[in-house]
Structure formats: C-alpha cells, structure tokens
Assembly symmetry: C2
Homo-oligomer: 558 residues x 2
C-alpha cells in the first residue's frame, strides 16, 4: 500500500482552500485557494439589482461548488498525488452560515421562482439583520426559564441558526414554507459530496441550541405558532460528532474533482473548532487559541458545567467524548490593525522604514524594550464589544494613563496587553467554573507574526504557550477528521488522538512565562479587572450612554 493522503477543505468568509496532507506524518503536500466569485453579498442581490438592507450578508452556494471543483483538482495536479491515494475528505465552514434547500438538496436561490428573494440565499455568519428575532428568542427563553440560556452565556446571538430561521419565517413565509429543509452550509457541502443529510454536532451545538436534542416544540411555538414544528419539519437529520463518516463520495462529483467514488467524507465542521486536533490538544484542559482578527478559545472538559459568559458548552462539540467549551474575544488583531492604521504617526512609519521593517514590527521592537508596567498605560480591549465573559456588543475601547510623554510604542503595548488580559479573564472564569486550563496552544495568523504578543500572553496568563507549526491549522484539522472518517482499515486512523499523534505538529520553540513579569502583570490585571467590572457590569454606563447618544444622531447602525 502506497502513501495515503487526505484532503481538508476549508470554507472561509472570502475564499475556500484545499490542503492535501500525507496521512502518515501530516506533511502538507499541496494547497490551493480560490476567492468566491461573489465574495460577500451585502450590497445588491445578484441578477436583480435589488439593494439589500443594512446588516445583510449573503453568499451564493454555487461559489462553494466552484471552489470545490477548482481547488481539489489543483492540489492533485500540483502534487502529482493520484485520486486513488486520497482516502478521506474533511470539511469545515464558517458558522452559522445557513440556507433553505428543496427536497433534493438544491438551494432555493438556484430555482428561478425564488432567485429574486434574498431570503432564498445563503445567510452568511455575519448577516446581522436577525437581531429582532434574536431579541425575541432571548425574551421568550428568559420568560420560560429555558435552561439552555446558561450554556450560551445567557444570550442567543443574532448570528445563530434559529434567529436566522425565524427571520425567514417573519419576512418571507413563502420561502420558509417552500424550504424542505434549513441547513448549515457546512452540512450542505457534505450533502453535495456524499448525498447524506447529516448535521454536525459542533454547528448544531454552538449555533442551533442543540444538546443531545433541540429545544422543545413548546418553546418554538411560543416564538411563533408556525414555528412550532421547525425541528421536525426543517431539521430532520441525524446530528453526528466530528470524525464520523457521513458517507462515500458520490460518483458524479468524484469524477469532477478527480477522486474515487466512495472516498470517506467526514461530517462537517466549524472552522475554529477543527483546528483543535491540528494542535494536538486532544485531551482535557488544553486551551486552543485561534488568533487572528478575533480570538476563539476552545477547551475540552470532562464535566458538564454551565459557566457564565462563555459562547457555549456542547457535548461532542469539539472532540467526541468531551464537553467542548468555546469562548472568544470579538477583536484582537483587528484592534492592532486599527491602531496601526489610525494612531501611528508618520515619524514611526519613517523609523520603521529605516529599520527595514513594517510598522507592526517596529512598534513591537520598541514596545518589547519596555518593562511591564513602565508605561503607566492600560487599556480595555473592547473596540468591538466584549464577547466573553460579558457578552455585550455595546461596550467600547478604553485607554487610561496617558501623559504628555506617552509614546506610540507604549500605547501599542498597552493594547497588546489588554487582549492578553481579556484571555486571562476567560481562563480564570473557566477555572472558577470547574474547567481547569493547564496548557495553551496557539494557531492562526498572529502567533507567527507577533512574538511579543505571544510572550505577553504567556507572561500575563503564567502559562507556557505551544504554537502550531502549520500555516493552515484549520484545513489541516479538517484533513485529520477526514483521516479519522476513513478509519485505520483504509489507511487512516480510528480516532483523533492517534491522528493527532502522527499528523499534528508543533514548533519546537514555545513561549514560557517569565515569573517576574507575571508578578507585575498581576498588579496591572487587578486594575484591568476592576475597570472591566466597573464598565462591563453596569457600575458605570459611560460606554452605553455614549453609544446611545451616538445612535440618536447616526441611527441604529454603528
């Protein structure tokens, strides 16, 4: 038997990527990426000239198929690997990204009679127009004392599945009725690949209030009598954990993409969550941080505990057999980018050029020379609200301690530190709630780009941080689930722990906490925490008051 391969298919917000990986050692043999022809549809509905309302964000499902048919042949061609040596496919998708389909699985937007109705299209994760529905869901859930609220930090998001589904019912009941099913795009792509309608436990659990079952009919009826049977009518498919084989690749699609019919197709996955096995964090107490524009924290626990302010806790949600806790910070790299674009003077840009580096690099070098606490500047990392543990989009950024001698590097460092304090707050909340965090693993774009940030995270949290060696942790994770779906008999693995032992790779160098720095950071963290609680828990409402004044002038948008 020759060398075997798996493919990870990673569907992001703007593009889709294939990663071809060797099963034996996780070698990343080839990768190909393609931008969606329609990218994010947030202005005009294609083919109609129809303007979308603010906060809408749609996609065209044909783009997903086009990506599939482009990038898979590309990695095969580039690598010279034969389709017959690919034993499994794993996929991941943004979530909740959902669409209405007919009985045959065809998206309603692809049917001429519905194409002009925006509700027939894919609602992307960042479609934010279902806020009234989310408000109603939260109101009804609170009134009924629904226990699921506690699992989601007390609040269901406008981005999630039932908010979006209820918006379709509210605004386009004809689409709701015409839809045979409503489905996550991540499950839809699996359906296209293998013809099996499955629902992945991760998306169901973190985005559709699933916990070995959805909320009961009475709850949905209380939202709208027509919504009573939404689960039975529109979601009637098995919910399966990651790494299960959903089915075998259909002959027609196999031919198009150059693979062999029957190749194992894993159940769908959510982008952040599939990264976990790719960092080898496949046991309890290991927190994986996907660090990019925002930060997603994932950790597996063995006890089901409700912890205030988390994004969710889901059985089998990350790894089978564990309770998966998800938390997050709504902006991290985004704040750094904002600072560099809006707050760094021309003189720094010139100095950076002279030093042969970019502004980030120059600021990091200057900020790295500062001792902890030396600048006297402290920030709250809420430029895009606070996702965890306060779950409040109306909070805003704060910086304090500036004097006439304060430098850009000092403010830059304060902003980096604030995001580390945000993560430390989440870690402490998890531990307080009964979910211990013993090790940190980082992946995503930031760890490779900003070593100072990683050292600050290690010093603040007083924990060693291991860094994924892969540039494509998410796609690699999907590929690993593909290998598990294929199973050992077919040349893959029977479980994810074995897959991770062979296929996951970490960098040799880790970030180790400096004890002295941590002791200093505990002092600063005490200040951070007091301000966090003061402004985040209603002690002083300046942020909300300013937003209310702003909204009274600008209208509802930000």
């Amino acid at each position: 038997m020759g060398r075997k391969y798996v493919i990870g298919l990673d569907y992001g917000t703007e593009s889709g990527r294939a990663l071809l990986v060797a099963v034996d050692n996780g070698e990343e043999v080839a990768t190909a990426v393609m931008t969606y022809p329609h990218r994010v549809i947030d202005d005009t509905l294609p083919g109609t000239g129809k303007k979308l309302e603010p906060d809408w964000a749609l996609q065209d499902p044909r783009d997903y198929l086009q990506v599939l048919e482009t990038v898979i042949p590309q990695v095969l061609k580039e690598s010279g690997v034969k389709g017959g040596d690919v034993i499994g496919i794993g996929t991941d998708f943004t979530a909740c990204t959902m669409l209405p389909i007919d009985q045959a699985g065809a998206p309603l937007c692809m049917k001429p009679e519905f194409a002009a109705n925006p509700h027939a299209w894919v609602k992307l994760w960042k479609h934010h127009a279902a806020q009234p529905e989310a408000d109603k869901i939260n109101e009804v859930a609170r009134a009924r004392g629904e226990s699921f609220l506690a699992r989601y930090g007390g609040k269901i998001s406008s981005e999630w599945f039932f908010s979006k589904a209820l918006q379709i019912l509210d605004e386009a009941p004809e689409i709701y009725t015409a839809a045979d099913r409503l489905i996550e795009a991540g499950d839809w792509i699996v359906l296209q690949l293998c013809g099996k309608d499955t629902r992945n436990a991760c998306a169901a659990g973190y985005k559709a209030i699933w916990d070995e079952g959805y909320p009961d009919k009475a709850f949905f009826k209380a939202l709208d009598p027509r919504f009573e049977n939404v689960v039975a009518d529109k979601l009637n498919a098995p919910v399966l954990p990651a790494g299960v084989k959903a089915g075998g690749l259909l002959p027609e699609i196999a031919k198009k993409i150059g693979l062999v019919p029957g190749t194992a197709v894993a159940t769908g996955g959510v982008d952040a969550h599939v990264a976990v096995p790719a960092t080898a964090a496949t046991s309890e107490g290991k927190m994986v941080m996907i660090m990019g524009t925002s930060l997603c924290h994932m950790v597996c626990g063995t006890k089901k505990v409700a912890i205030d302010g988390m994004c969710g806790v889901v059985k089998d949600g990350i790894l089978p057999g564990f309770y998966g806790f998800e938390a997050g910070q709504s902006a991290v790299g985004d704040i750094f980018a904002w600072f560099v674009n809006n707050c760094v003077p021309a003189s720094v840009a010139e100095d950076a050029k002279k030093a042969g580096t970019d502004i980030h690099g120059y600021l990091a070098a200057e900020a790295g020379k500062l001792k902890v606490g030396e600048s006297g500047v402290l920030a709250l990392d809420w430029w895009n609200g606070n996702r965890c543990i306060l779950v409040d989009a109306d909070l805003t950024g704060l910086m304090v301690g500036m004097t006439l001698g304060t430098t850009p590097a000092e403010m830059y460092r304060a902003i980096l530190e604030s995001t580390a304090f945000g993560t430390y707050t989440i870690i402490r909340q998890l531990e307080k709630g009964g979910c211990p965090i013993t090790e940190l693993y980082a992946c995503g774009g930031l760890p490779g780009k900003n070593p100072l940030l990683m050292q600050i995270f290690a010093d603040v949290t007083n924990r060693e941080i291991k860094i994924s060696a892969s540039e494509q942790t998410v796609a690699l994770g999907s590929a690993m689930w593909g290998a598990v779906a294929a199973g050992a008999a077919a040349g893959g693995y029977d479980d994810v722990t074995h897959a991770a032992q062979k296929m996951a790779r970490l960098r040799k160098e880790t970030y180790k906490p400096n004890k002295e720095n941590h002791a200093q950071y505990e002092k600063l963290f005490a200040e951070y925490t007091r301000l966090h609680d003061l402004f985040g828990r209603g002690g002083d409402n300046v942020m909300k008051n300013l937003k209310a004044i702003k909204r009274s002038i600008r209208g509802v948008s930000n």
Copy 2:
C-alpha cells in the same frame, strides 16, 4: 504735546520681549524679542560643569538685563519713537521665579564666592525640586488649621515662593543666611529699573501666601525654627497692587536703554494676569482665558469667597479693588500637540498636504464636520494632571468609546472637547462658590489658530467668547499698566478702566454658542463629570495605581 508711548516688557520662560504701544489707541508700534543666552538651566551649572539634580530649573539674572538692554533700544530704533515720548514701563514675569540678592540688590550668583552654588541662582517657576518642602508646608498648615489653605484650593505648590525659600534653607543654609533678601524676579527687574524694592500683590498673593499680610511667624517657626522670621528678614518690602508707580527710571539704566530718567516704572506683574486689562475685561464676572500650551483662567469678583480647587483668590491680585480668582488647566495645547505628534497616521499627514494645510488644520476641518456626540468618544483632559479643580498632578489622560471605526478626527475632537469640559467644570465651580461668570475673553496662541476649539468652548460653556485682537496680549497688558503708573497728568491714564477703554482691542467676530450643540454637550458633560469625579476624587484610583507601578520601575520622575 506729541503722541505718547509706553513699553511693555514681557519676561517669558525662554525669551524676553518689548512691545512699544501708543497710549492714545493701543496701537502696537514695534516689538522685539530676544532669547535668553542661557535659556533654562536644567542640566549643568554655568562656569562649573556641575550637574544639576533632576527637577531643577534655574536661570541667569544677567540674561534678564541683557534682554532689557537689547530689546528696548531695538523697538525705539525700529519705530523712530524718541525716548522722551515714552512715559511709562510695565513689566511682567513668569512666577514664582525667585532669587536671593544682597543688600544692594545684586543676585548672589553674580558674586564669585557664591557662583558655584546652584541655590544662589534664579529658581525658575518650573523648578520642581522643592516638593519635600511643599509637602512639609502642606502638612504643617493642615495640622495647624491654617485658613490660607482654602484660598489655594487646599494645597501649596512646590513651585511657590516659600517652598523654594525653604529649600534654600534646607539645602544651602549659608546662602539663606547670606541673602539679604529673597525676591521674585519680576520685582527684582523693577528694582533694577527704579531702585525701589517693592513686591507686586499678584505674585505675593498667588505665589507667596500673601493676603494683606503673610502667614504669621508661628507658622514659619513650625516649619523650621530658623525660618521663623523669614518675612521680616527676607521679604521686608511694601506689597503694591498693579498700576502703582514703583519709582522713576534710574539715570544709569535710562542712558543704557535710551529712555529718560524718571520715566514711570509700574510695579511688577505676573505674565498671565497682566493680560486681563489687555482684553478689556476690567469688571466683575468676566473670565479671561490665556490659551496656549496650558490654560490660565482669571476672573475678578467683588466678594471674597473660598472656592475649592482654585489656584488662588487674592485681593488686588489681578485688578485693584477686586478679588482676583485664578484657575488653570495644566495642559491644553500641549495635549493637542502630543496627539498630533504621537497619534496621527501618515495617511492624515498626506491628506493634509493634499488639502494644502497642516495636520492641525486638516484634523480641525474633519472634526468640524462631526455632529456633537456623533463619534461616541469621550476623553478626560488630564495628560499633565489636573490643576483645577482637583489639584492633582498624578491624574492622567483617559479616552473611552473607541470602536474599530473610530477615526483620528473623532479622537482629536474628543480631546478638544475634553479641554472645554475642563474649563466648564471650573466655571461651574466658580459660580457655585459665589463668583458669577457672565462673559468669556480669550487670548494667547490658540484662539487665532484653532477656530473649531473656540466654537467648542462656546458651545460647551454656553457663553459667547470674545477674542483679543492683539497678538501680544501679555506685553500689551504690561504696557497698559505702565500707562496707568505714568498717570493722566503725564499723558497716561489714572486707572485701568480708562486705559482699557482706549488701549484694549477685541476682534469684531466673536464665538456665539449654538443652543442645540450646547444641549447635546450637556449630555456628554454629564458623562465627563461622572468620570471626572470617579477617577478624580478617589472613587477609582486606577491612575494613581498605574503611576505607582510606573514609579516603582522608573524611579520618582515621571
């Protein structure tokens, strides 16, 4: 009798200036400025190579004489005005800027036996090394229940006269003993001009705890037994209000500078305070704001009331016959400059260039397009601490409300607004204390440079602001006091009200408050005030805690 003239001599921190003014209409005929050869001595003592300790700031009194002998002949030459047509000289000086002199009025630093001792030199206003002495003064005053504390916002500054005098006694008792007198530089220059040792009520009142008398001997004894007779021994000279003729110009100096012996020399003045008549604000309830790097507020009242958090209230301190209230903000233009130098991206610099303006101008134009409250950003103007009404140098800057969409212009506007809120806080405190403020007058460098700032000040305070038409308001004010010292019989004026009617000039255009903007600003000011009290009055000590951490690393300096 031909046209008569007066000269205003303005001694600043870095340079001295003469302004030759026509008595009849205030026309500014000629001006000349000279930088002090030794500027500020804060590194090495001249002629000794001796390093000064941190926080020291000295000057060389010979520089003051050199300026005098340079700039007065220069304005005479430039204008063609004859020395005989100059009827009076008024002077103003930074304060408290003080020095030890011998019986003949010679500075001790000019004597070879003392020249190597830094305590023999002029201590400039911003000499900050007398903090231990100021602490002792405050401690003893509080313990003794000295009533004067209330007049100075509850605190005597390290910059003030007795702090500096006590430092001489503490660290150089031989200089203290050798000094026949200790004198404000502003009174020393008058002594040089006319041979009369007088003390101006303004400097005495605002800087030397004078209120129709200095504190009593028991107080000084409690500070140090050797200090008991400081007043009788070292300050034995009459205290006179502004506009009084201290004496006639001495023949020797008259010859050197091209004026006539006997020309009226007015009592000394303090730089900010002499600006008041130059804006024509010569009656009750008119607040004069000198707006530059920092902001000084002066207002005359008819009732002596102690108002918490003011810099001082002094009878005859600003205008004879009134109680002069002084307040201030320790940084205004300095914060704007900090922002422009440290927080404005290259893209804004480029856009400014394209628009044919500088960064300030460009930001002001962009910020001017914003509606009040539209940005959602709010700042506390404490980058250099808070002088009034909190009197706390350890407070620091704060900005809140930033999102990923926040622009440099929005932050710039928030900073301008914060300084207006600072002034509004002072106005409300004065009014609450029984000192009504009916009109605002502005002078200094900022009003001409930043119309947006002035409109914001008008809108926030809900008061019309009149702007001085003179570019040299301080020197003009000094010249006016010279005209009053000369008196009507000599071609001058008998009182400052008449002098102001003829010689002060305001711009035609004033800044009128916009009612709608003010109503919006009241909402923002409520937020500012709550944060002001929270962080400024001990509700939350984050600023001091951060400074304590910073100091533990950097040492005592800022």
